[in-house]
């Protein structure tokens, strides 16, 4: 198969805004499935609702675009009935951690053999830029016009604490590393959680002094701290600066898995 064949060509062009990071993440995901030589007929994409969740509709395999927040239980049903399928979930930060928060921790606890790619743009994109559980403290959104007054989730920490076998974080700037992480996630039995920090120029950038897409991507790169460096800093007692986040492979373990290959 070729990379192009993983795309549902007659659905393109996609609905994403110019400069949105979601297309990059979709591209990295399909690159990973293609490089791994997955059987397209045994690969299922599942997503919830949001800009990010539209990604399932651009893949040429069987795909379920479900209800807001519920992608993981839908995917659980698919995987339990077809354990020999690779089931890959696209979700957004709001979809996964607000309305779908309970499903998220339980999918991780069960360590069900899914690969979850979360496109974290710090905002509700599709509904026009409201605050999400991942909106940074102080950031402006349409529902936090005076600045967010709640602390954001660290989604990777949640996934690790809840029991996922594989956890990684990258950004839409790190396309090679991200593709590699998605590959590793698909190959690791159990729940693999890959968080991708990404730019939403339309709903987040425009309100937070980053009108240019390049500014947003630069900020993503500048705020990323590689795990090795973060570990060294931690050992030396240097805390993570506010606004920075750790990128890299954060967890890889082999706890018992639900719904793994027969």
């Amino acid at each position: 198969m070729t990379l192009e064949e993983w795309y549902r060509q007659d659905r393109l062009p996609h609905i994403y805004c110019a400069g949105c990071g979601n297309g990059t993440i979709l591209n990295c995901t399909l690159r990973a499935t293609n490089e791994l030589g997955l059987d397209r007929t045994k690969t299922t994409f599942v997503s919830g609702i949001g800009c990010s969740s539209r990604a399932s509709g651009y893949t040429s395999s069987d795909s379920l675009h479900t209800t807001h927040g519920r992608a993981l239980p839908f995917a659980t049903g698919v995987k339990m009935v077809k354990p020999d399928h690779d089931v890959i979930v696209f979700t957004g930060d709001g979809d996964l951690s607000a309305i779908g928060g309970n499903h998220f921790i339980h999918a991780c606890r069960r360590n069900i053999d899914l690969t979850v790619v979360c496109m974290n743009n710090n905002i509700y994109g599709m509904t026009g830029g409201q605050g999400s559980p991942c909106t940074p403290y102080g950031a402006i959104s349409t529902t936090t016009p005076y600045g967010m007054r709640e602390m954001p989730f660290d989604l990777c920490a949640v996934a690790e604490a809840a029991g996922a076998n594989y956890v990684a974080r990258w950004t839409s700037y790190h396309v090679k590393e991200l593709t590699q992480a998605i590959r590793a996630g698909i190959e690791t039995p159990g729940l693999s959680f890959i968080e991708v920090m990404t730019q939403c120029p339309t709903s987040f950038g425009s309100k937070n002094k980053m009108r240019q897409v390049s500014q947003m991507v630069d900020a993503l790169r500048a705020n990323s701290i590689l795990k090795d460096k973060a570990d060294r800093n931690k050992a030396a007692g240097i805390p993570l600066e506010p606004g920075k986040f750790v990128v890299g492979e954060l967890v890889r373990r082999s706890n018992p898995v639900l719904g793994g290959r027969p």
Binding site: D62, L64, H65, T66, T76, M80, V81, K82, N102
Partner: protein, 377 residues
């Protein structure tokens, strides 16, 4: 394989019916008075190559059985009122995506957590209209443990035949009552029509129902709850397309109401006719046995789509008496299809209708003039 006769409660018989019908995936969340369905499935499914999973809530359970259905299995969940309420958004998704699956609602007293261990029939309208938007569904109502088995099998066949969620709207009485039940080994299984290579996944066949594009066959089916074209692709801003899609999905079920109808008709020439479903049917049957030849009876095993043509079989009817364990939900539906006066015999709280109460309602009906009379029991 031979039939087995056992003495079981209704919930257990329901689980056995599902297994006989080929259900191999069950996702659920505990709630009284439905839990024995899940418990039986948890014991039985792993032994026959199926899967049981206890989900984190009912939203997840409903989602999981829809995912499981697209992955190719016959799937079921079971719940009671509060859980049924939580399932509503995903029930609408199943209707919109034409996903065959079975939802058992062992009804208890409501609203809210109400009476967990008492019987009720308060969710009948919710089953029909509970999710947002226009859609149609199929619902069955067993009135014995044997029917819990038989109608569960039937629910799966109807789900596949019409590609729709099907509800088994039972109640605590039937769920927990123990009766002799024949676990039939030769149940009839109607196969679903699979999507053929090259067919569009949401283009209806002659009966209004598209072939089912089960995942894993290389068909590359995209399924979305958004309004979609015949390829299954989102098409959300065409008034014409939305109208066409929604009307077709409603019609495929409503137009087949005579084919779907499943009723018992007793004494069609009677003047006073009882219309019942579920637990009250048993009291009506006792009344008819105590006063032979006097009263008519329309027993509904299918409640949705409402089999309105069957009302016409009672040509001499002067009044219909509708005993229900709610404040007259199906009586309201009956009212829509007849000019014959209606007496509602509503009962809440979980106590069953007694024969004396039904007799009293029949006596009131004999002189009923108003379009709807509520009899105080």
């Amino acid at each position: 394989m031979t039939d087995k006769t056992e003495f079981l409660n209704g919930n257990t018989a329901c689980a056995e019916g599902a297994i006989a019908a080929g259900c191999r995936f069950f996702a659920g969340y505990p709630i009284t008075p439905s839990t024995e369905v899940a418990e039986r499935m948890a014991v039985r499914l792993p032994k026959i190559g199926g899967t049981f999973i206890q989900m984190e809530d009912e939203l997840a359970s409903m989602a999981a059985i829809i995912g499981g259905a697209w992955a190719g299995a016959r799937t079921m969940t079971a719940t009671s009122g509060p859980g049924f309420s939580l399932m509503m958004e995903n029930i609408g998704y199943a209707a919109m995506t034409e996903t065959p699956c079975v939802v058992v609602n062992v009804q208890r007293g409501g609203p809210s957590t109400g009476q967990p261990t008492m019987a009720a029939q308060g969710d009948m309208m919710q089953a029909r209209f509970g999710s947002h938007g226009d859609y149609s569904i199929i619902a069955l109502a067993p009135s014995s443990v044997q029917e819990m088995f038989d109608l569960t099998v039937k629910a799966f066949n109807l789900a596949d035949r019409f590609r729709t969620p099907v509800f088994l709207m039972t109640d605590e009485t039937i769920g927990h009552m123990r009766e002799k039940v024949i676990l039939r080994s030769d149940v009839e299984i109607t196969p679903r029509r699979e999507l053929l290579e090259g067919e569009l996944p949401f283009r209806p066949g002659p009966d209004g129902v598209p072939g089912f594009g089960t995942f894993g066959r290389g068909l590359g089916v995209h399924v979305t709850g958004l309004t979609h074209d015949e390829r299954g692709y989102p098409a959300t801003d065409s008034a014409d397309l939305h109208e066409k899609v929604v009307r077709r999905m409603v019609r495929k079920i409503e137009d087949a109401r005579n084919e779907i109808a499943d009723v018992d008709i007793v004494n069609p020439d009677a003047e006073i006719v009882f219309i019942s479903y579920g637990a009250p049917t048993r009291a009506v049957q006792q009344l008819l046995a105590d006063y032979p030849g006097i009263y008519g009876h329309l027993n509904l095993r299918i409640v949705w789509p409402f089999p309105d043509a069957k009302l016409g079989e009672f040509g001499a009817a002067k009044a219909f008496v509708v005993p229900e364990m709610n404040l007259g939900q199906m009586a309201r539906e009956v009212r829509m299809h007849t000019n014959v006066p209606i007496v509602t015999a509503a009962k809440l709280g979980g106590a069953l209708h007694t024969v004396a109460e039904l007799k009293h309602a029949a006596d009131v009906a004999a002189t009923a003039k108003a379009p709807v009379t509520e009899v105080v029991l």
